[in-house]
């Protein structure tokens, strides 16, 4: 909990005093470091502060120690204090006589004074809450400890818990009260035993009644004994260490008393597929020990890209790889022209094989990476640049060098598009998705980022339709009539219906294995529960 606990005492000689204080120090923030930020400036600042601190210390403590007696001191001056670390969270619990952070010093001091000499608790022992925005908020529990030598045979203490979050502190009242009571009772019981045994040895009441009262001597007479420390009152030499443990525990337990269960949305299919692929790759890597050579990018025809550069006059300059590149879908569209782009995009969306033949591998690669954005990740199988033709079932994006022959069945197929040869496939109506993509691409007012968000929206929208269709047709195995109904429901019917359906069917192949297997098992599970 973002709070501190302190034990306070009303000293007969010195008034309210803070005896022992446990703070919780949190790691700064669960954030990653930021690269390339000026460190020097901070250093300077720290140096300034150091100077400040030193001067402060120099003119400090000597006078103060003179004002203290045994009763208002906890750890001896030589003691460095206690620390406990919560390894799970990095929170450190520190105990000293006073808080280490100067800004908290006066806050605790204030809490101590108020708890022991300002606020009124009925019966003097018990819990009070008080505070304000300026001084922080305090849950205080006052109590007496027996002392055979003290005035009235008892000394007055309080344990205060100070926090800035008043609501949190008030919410924790029942918890804090319950646990402070235990701590306090422990102290009181121990002290009571000490008191009883002392009284057996030397009954103070009798001593006091028999001693001659002299106003002049009295304060001095008492002061020698008045300053008894809490460890001596409890005969517990390790009292401070155990109080440290007790207070640290209290802070930790109070902070984690309530926990939230906060849910996030399901990951997108793209995320899932990427994770699956990565896992597969890693497994392969482990299996083959990295024996696989880079089959994808043959290095040839690098020089022969003059033509391409002329072709894309404004194309990529100053990129890491030389040669022109497609920067975005819109760029590709501008280069190809609206009509040709539309055809190309159509083929991509339908899952047809896109063969791009040309001398410049990096140009082809950039074209593919731009075009991939049209599809769910799971639908993309690409061979960026290959010395020979690859079959369509292996890849829907294929880059080839100009001289590679394409088998006749492919070049005549309507399921492939060859980019260097415009393979005209007349399509009157396009899938709804493509029409919308085109609207976004053709609008020059939209930035590339907006277009990509737009694309994401469209893809997710259609991916959700894909899921329904998959569930409906593949998992539940419904008939044709019902399927038609569900297609209508999904808004896939009407103009462009054939294409829409084709697109949906192609996209089904892009669903993640995780998702598919979940639906399958859910159905099996569901049937089982139904049959029971």
């Amino acid at each position: 909990m973002n709070a501190l606990v302190a034990l306070c005492h009303f000293c007969e000689l010195h008034g309210p005093r803070t005896l022992f204080c446990t703070e919780a120090l949190h790691p700064p923030s669960p954030s990653p470091p930021q690269p390339g930020l000026s460190i020097a400036g901070d250093r300077d600042r720290e140096a300034d502060r150091e100077g400040e601190g030193l001067t402060m210390r120099a003119n400090g403590s000597a006078s103060q120690r003179a004002d203290m007696c045994e009763g208002c001191r906890s750890l001896p001056a030589s003691h460095p204090g206690f620390v406990s670390v919560d390894n799970e969270t990095g929170i450190r619990f520190l105990s000293h006589q006073h808080p280490r952070q100067p800004q908290l010093f006066s806050v605790v001091r204030q809490a101590c004074v108020r708890s022991l000499s300002c606020e009124v608790c009925p019966g003097r022992e018990g819990p009070i809450f008080f505070g304000d925005e300026q001084h922080g908020f305090v849950f205080s529990h006052t109590f007496f400890i027996k002392d055979s030598l003290a005035r009235g045979f008892q000394r007055w203490y309080s344990i205060v818990i100070v926090a800035m979050d008043r609501i949190y502190l008030i919410n924790s009242w029942p918890f804090l009260l319950r646990h402070l009571k235990l701590t306090i009772q422990g102290l009181q019981n121990t002290a009571l035993k000490v008191f009883d045994s002392e009284q057996c040895v030397c009954p103070q009441r009798a001593v006091r009644m028999n001693s001659v009262f002299s106003p002049a001597v009295f304060p001095h007479q008492r002061s020698g004994n008045a300053a008894r420390s809490l460890p001596s009152l409890t005969q517990h030499p390790d009292l401070w260490a155990s109080l440290h443990s007790s207070f640290s525990w209290l802070l930790k337990a109070c902070g984690s008393r309530l926990t939230e269960k906060l849910l996030e949305g399901a990951p997108t299919e793209d995320t899932l597929v990427l994770i699956e692929r990565q896992t597969e790759q890693e497994e392969e890597m482990i299996g083959w020990e990295g024996a696989e050579g880079g089959c994808s990018l043959p290095q040839r025809n690098q020089s022969d890209n003059e033509l391409g550069r002329d072709f894309l006059c404004d194309g990529g300059k100053g990129e890491e790889l030389p040669g022109p590149k497609f920067k975005s879908l819109r760029h590709l569209r501008q280069v190809l022209g609206a009509v040709e782009f539309r055809q190309l995009a159509w083929h991509v969306l339908m899952g047809n094989q896109v063969i791009w033949r040309g001398p410049d591998p990096s140009l082809i690669q950039s074209a593919f990476s731009v075009l991939k954005a049209l599809l769910p990740v799971g639908c993309v199988r690409s061979v960026p640049y290959s010395p020979q033709y690859e079959e369509a079932y292996r890849c829907n994006f294929l880059g080839l060098s100009p001289d590679v022959p394409i088998p006749a069945h492919v070049s005549s197929s309507e399921f492939a598009v060859l980019v260097d040869v415009v393979n005209a496939e007349p399509n009157a109506q396009c899938p709804t998705l493509l029409n919308k993509v085109e609207v976004a691409l053709s609008n020059e007012n939209l930035s590339v980022e907006v277009v990509s968000h737009c694309l994401l929206c469209l893809k997710e929208e259609w991916m959700n339709k894909v899921k329904v269709l998959f569930k409906f047709s593949k998992v539940d195995g419904r008939g044709r009539e019902d399927t038609q109904k569900v297609l209508a429901l999904l808004g896939a019917t009407g103009p462009g219906e054939d294409d829409n359906v084709r697109l949906l069917k192609f996209w089904i192949t892009g669903l993640s294995k995780t998702y598919k297997s979940h639906l399958m098992t859910a159905v099996r599970g569901g049937e089982r529960t139904l049959s029971q």
Binding site: N2, P16, H26, P28, P30, S31, P33, L37, R45, E50, G53, M56, Q64, R65, A77, G81, V85, T89, G90, I91, P102, C118, E119, V120, C121, F129, G131, D132, Q134, H135, G136, M164, R166, I167, Y168, N171, W173, G186, K193, V194, Q235, H236, D238, A241, S245, S246, F247, W249, L258, E260, G265, A266, P267, T271, L446, S447, C457, K467, D476, L519
Partner: protein, 970 residues
């Protein structure tokens, strides 16, 4: 339906195995409270502490009785009886206001029609209570002070707010009210047997004797310039906006829920010192003039408003009320503020009345009315029926098969959709609910973790989990904000009321809405200390080995820490280490159960203390991938990363501003010597910050070389490579103003040396954490943290369980959602409630707007009322809701999918996917709006395909992740 009810009851029992209060279901709607609450258990006292005149009671509901013209018997508790009567009449439902003057808050006080009240003798405890309210020392603090006292016998709980007063410019006017009180006490005709005259006099003198004004030591002259007030001026303005302003370039996606919680933990952090979060200085106003009066005058008078709850005698009932009270305190406080405002008004009003007895009557009548309303509201809050099984929360908390739940919910949803299809009632209502109760948005934001369990099961947000552990914030507060939908920017607070005479229909609507109004589920963790010492081999520490994953993305290591667990006290649920205390007789040097009593002390051999690490190659690459999301150093493209960077940045900005403001004051100002007069009064001062133990340790080596060696080992062990990454960035930004840091520098070359690898590497990377965490404390004696076993159980006293109201007999102001049969009271109170909410939000942070969605299930209309404008058309409560086509398409799809017999689980999954689409669309919208100043609605539909009917919804959703949207669109 019968089956349903049974299932509900069964579920209800299943959930609340540890409930201390038995739940009594009524129909299928439960009552929250286990104990009765009598209206007379709530007592109001208004007290004044005046420097000149001492303390005076300005109001005490216990000492007032009503003179009823019709009821000449005038029994002392006539009022009590009336109230008890109506309270009993409505036991099954809620208490409805039918006290004669109840809605009188809005009516002009007419002397003739008023019931008359009179003072009886003052209650015997009133002096004591005065002491408790004001304390024995007069405070010079100007703001309001909050106090809570527990009185043991008879058991009572007293909540007080003490205000400074603001008085008018005309002198003398302040005393009229107390004069009139004295008048009434002195007038033998008014009080029948009235010993109060003497009572009052003695009270005066006694309080004078007590209130020797002793200034607080810290409030001396030297410190005034440095006081929180001065600081708050610069800080509060910064912190008022709960989200970073758009100008600060923090625009791209940030998970709103994470950000809200993080910011809360920062603004309430103790490490930042006292930082007043939103500087509304609450003052008790005794004049309606807005003149600023002389501060000297203000300090002279304080007014305390106290509410005293008599607690039930039965232990269990007592505890259940207390649990409710403390967990729902923000709501109680908000109503107290309302009460205070009413008292203020009453005082101002009655001062205008010349005739003394009438003045008092007006005053008493006003305050009694306000008290009546307060009592009723509290009673309702405690006793009104609740939705037993909020759908969303049930799904979240229930680990077992969710299919039946989905099925039931889908059934209700489709029934309702069909029933109200023609009017688009449900679509409109859902549009409004999704627009204002925005906490659903984070629950559909796609996570980037692979699903761990079943697919349909959403995942816990790991980042938020981690945050909660390392930077505890108040989960109750977070939940309240979620429920009220206060997660957008600007912050709006929303409630929904369903009005309708057909109980069943209203209940069905409520049930369905509990799926869409979302919040986090709270668990209560009961920590017990692991009972170790009994089993531990005598004399030897127990070694436990834990595997900790490295926290950095590229980390190849698992840190294995080996640490001992010294004996713990056996006492379950008890704070550690004092267990032995009780058993320590003074004559014996050693405790009987040594391990227990000495738990945590440095008595073990040093090389066993502190964790040590063994580095192992990480086994699974997947493991690695999962972790780096917690705090990765340099993967840049994930959404989370950018979020965290923003956090980091905003935090830095905040810290820098903090620092700036601290730099403007004299260095170490608050540590300088205290004023001498304080010293005289409070004993020798502790103000000089130098705590005695700091200095020696700086100059001399640690006292115990052995233990320091062990500490070094401990430090080495904590060398998680990830630590640096996750702690570094911000820590480095912290203005280091702590003395401990200095010491660390000095000592690093001697005591710590190179062996402390953690330190060393953090030096290298230049990433220093704030002093407090890694630096100075290196020299403290390290003790292991007591280990505890944690048992989790569902938390009962949380807002998610208490603020979904059921079908109530009348409108209630607190519930996030409830139904009611009549809108009479709604019409009467709604706008004043909304205004009050803006002024005193229960959320403990400033809000921009309060909104109430009113669905009329009879007329099938949905309207939204807002605090920002009243509707001009008197037949309407608010503005009609535009049905979003996204929402109505969604409902249409779900309905037909259900008709096609697609499994309910899948339908719900699809519903979630569709909500996710809405989120993606909002992202697109916010991206489009970047850099735009003004956008025409037509343009949006043309360009982005966003229909105008969807725009309010999308803009609201976008405001949860991109604050700049609000400025352009709202």
């Amino acid at each position: 339906m019968g089956k349903y009810t049974k299932a509900l009851c069964a579920l209800c029992c299943k959930w609340r195995p540890h409930t201390c209060s038995p739940v009594r279901p009524l129909d299928n709607w439960m009552h929250w409270a286990s104990s009765e609450l009598d209206l007379n258990q709530i007592r109001l006292i208004v007290y004044q502490d005046c420097e000149r005149r001492g303390r005076q009671v300005l109001f005490d509901s216990k000492a007032i009785r009503k003179l009823d013209a019709a009821d000449q018997k005038n029994s002392d508790d006539a009022q009590t009886k009336t109230q008890t009567r109506c309270y009993k009449a409505h036991r099954s439902g809620a208490y409805t206001i039918n006290a004669p003057g109840a809605p009188a808050a809005c009516q002009p006080c007419d002397g003739e029609a008023l019931p008359s009240y009179q003072y009886t003798r003052p209650a015997s405890d009133v002096n004591m209570l005065g002491e408790m309210m004001f304390g024995s020392v007069a405070m010079s603090y100007r703001g309001s002070t909050l106090k809570i006292h527990y009185i043991r016998s008879p058991p009572q709980l007293m909540v007080s707010k003490v205000f400074s007063t603001r008085v008018g410019s005309t002198t003398g006017s302040t005393s009229t009210l107390q004069d009139s009180f004295e008048y009434i006490h002195q007038e033998p005709a008014a009080g029948k047997s009235c010993p109060s005259q003497s009572g009052l006099a003695s009270q005066n003198s006694s309080s004078i004797a007590h209130s020797t004004p002793v200034d607080m030591p810290s409030r001396g002259h030297n410190e005034d310039g440095d006081s929180g007030i001065a600081r708050s001026a610069s800080l509060s303005s910064l912190l008022v906006t709960p989200l970073p302003s758009p100008s600060s370039s923090l625009t791209s996606s940030c998970a709103s829920s994470y950000q809200r919680r993080w910011l809360r933990s920062q603004t309430t952090s103790l490490e930042n010192g006292p930082v007043p979060r939103w500087g509304n200085e609450e003052i008790f106003s005794l004049s309606d003039e807005s003149c600023s009066s002389n501060p000297a005058v203000i300090r002279r008078k304080k007014i305390a408003v106290s509410i005293i709850f008599s607690l039930p005698e039965k232990e269990e009932e007592n505890r259940s009320f207390q649990d409710f009270f403390f967990s729902h305190f923000p709501l109680f406080e908000s109503h107290m503020n309302k009460l205070k405002t009413a008292i203020e008004k009453a005082m101002i009003l009655c001062r205008r009345i010349a005739e003394s007895s009438q003045r008092v009557q007006v005053y008493l009548c006003r305050v009694m009315d306000a008290l009546g309303e307060f009592r009723t509201t509290i009673w309702n809050l405690y006793m009104a029926p609740r939705v037993t099984e909020p759908v969303w929360l049930t799904m979240v908390s229930q680990a077992a098969d969710k299919s039946p739940l989905c099925q039931r919910f889908l059934q209700e949803l489709t029934l309702l959709t069909e029933h109200t299809a023609k009017s688009h009632f449900l679509a409109a209502l859902l549009t409004a609910v999704l627009t204002y109760h925005l906490a659903w948005v984070p629950t559909v934001m796609p996570s980037d973790h692979p699903p761990i369990k079943a697919f349909s099961e959403k995942q816990r947000s790991q980042t938020v989990d981690m945050l909660a552990k390392s930077h505890p914030y108040n989960p109750l507060w977070a939940q309240l904000g979620d429920l009220y939908g206060a997660v957008g920017s600007p912050v709006r607070l929303a409630r929904t009321v369903v009005v309708g005479r057909r109980r069943e229909l209203v209940q069905r609507v409520l049930q369905v809405l509990t799926y869409f109004i979302r919040c986090s589920d709270l668990q209560e963790n009961v920590m017990r200390h692991a009972g170790q010492c009994a089993e531990a081999p005598p004399g030897g520490p127990t070694l436990t080995t834990t595997l900790e994953r490295g926290e950095v993305e590229r980390s190849e290591y698992v840190v294995v820490s080996v640490r001992d667990d010294p004996g713990k006290p056996r006492d379950a649920e008890a704070p550690p280490s004092l267990g032995g205390l009780g058993a320590a007789p003074s004559s014996e040097p050693r405790h009987m159960d040594g391990a227990g009593a000495l738990g945590g002390l440095p008595q073990q051999s040093p090389d066993l203390r502190g964790p040590r690490s063994v580095c192992l190659p990480q086994q699974s690459p997947l493991l690695n991938r999962v972790q780096f999301r917690i705090g990765s150093a340099d993967s840049t493209d994930s959404d989370l990363e950018s979020r965290q960077r923003e956090m980091d940045q905003s935090y830095r900005q905040y810290r820098e501003s903090l620092e700036e403001s601290s730099e403007t004051r004299p260095a170490g100002g608050d540590l300088e010597e205290p004023p001498s007069d304080c010293q005289a009064q409070a004993g020798p001062s502790e103000h000089l910050v130098q705590t005695p133990e700091l200095e020696p340790s700086r100059k001399t080596p640690p006292p115990n070389p052995e233990s320091s060696a062990s500490r070094l080992q401990g430090a080495t062990a904590r060398l998680g490579p990830g630590r640096l990454a996750s702690y570094g960035s911000v820590g480095r930004k912290l203005p280091v103003r702590l003395t401990g840091d200095i010491r660390r520098n000095e000592s690093s070359d001697s005591a710590l040396g190179d062996s402390d690898e953690e330190e060393a590497s953090s030096e290298q990377t230049g990433m220093r954490r704030g002093t407090e965490a890694h630096g100075g404390p290196r020299e403290e004696q390290e003790l292991p943290l007591p280990r505890s076993e944690t048992f989790s159980r569902p938390d009962v006293n949380n807002f998610g369980r208490s603020l979904f109201g059921g079908y109530c007999p009348q409108y209630m102001p607190d519930f996030v959602l409830h139904g009611t049969g009549s809108d009479e009271r709604l019409k009467l109170c709604l706008y004043s409630d909304l205004e009050h909410t803006v002024l005193h939000p229960a959320l403990d942070e400033p809000i921009a707007e309060a909104v109430c969605i009113v669905a009329d299930a009879d007329k099938l209309t949905v309207q939204v009322a807002t605090s920002q404008r009243r509707v001009t058309d008197s037949s309407k409560i608010g503005k009609d809701v535009l049905v979003s086509s996204l929402v109505s398409n969604l409902l249409h799809s779900i309905l037909h999918m259900a008709k096609l017999n697609i499994s309910p689980d899948f339908c719900i999954m699809h519903l979630e996917n569709r909500l996710q689409e809405v989120y993606f669309k909002s992202k697109m919208l916010s991206e489009y709006l970047k850099g735009q100043k003004r956008v025409h609605v037509k343009e949006l539909s043309l360009v982005l395909g966003i229909e105008s009917s969807d725009l309010p919804l999308l803009a609201a959703v976008a405001s949860t992740h991109s604050p700049h949207v609000a400025q352009i669109l709202l």
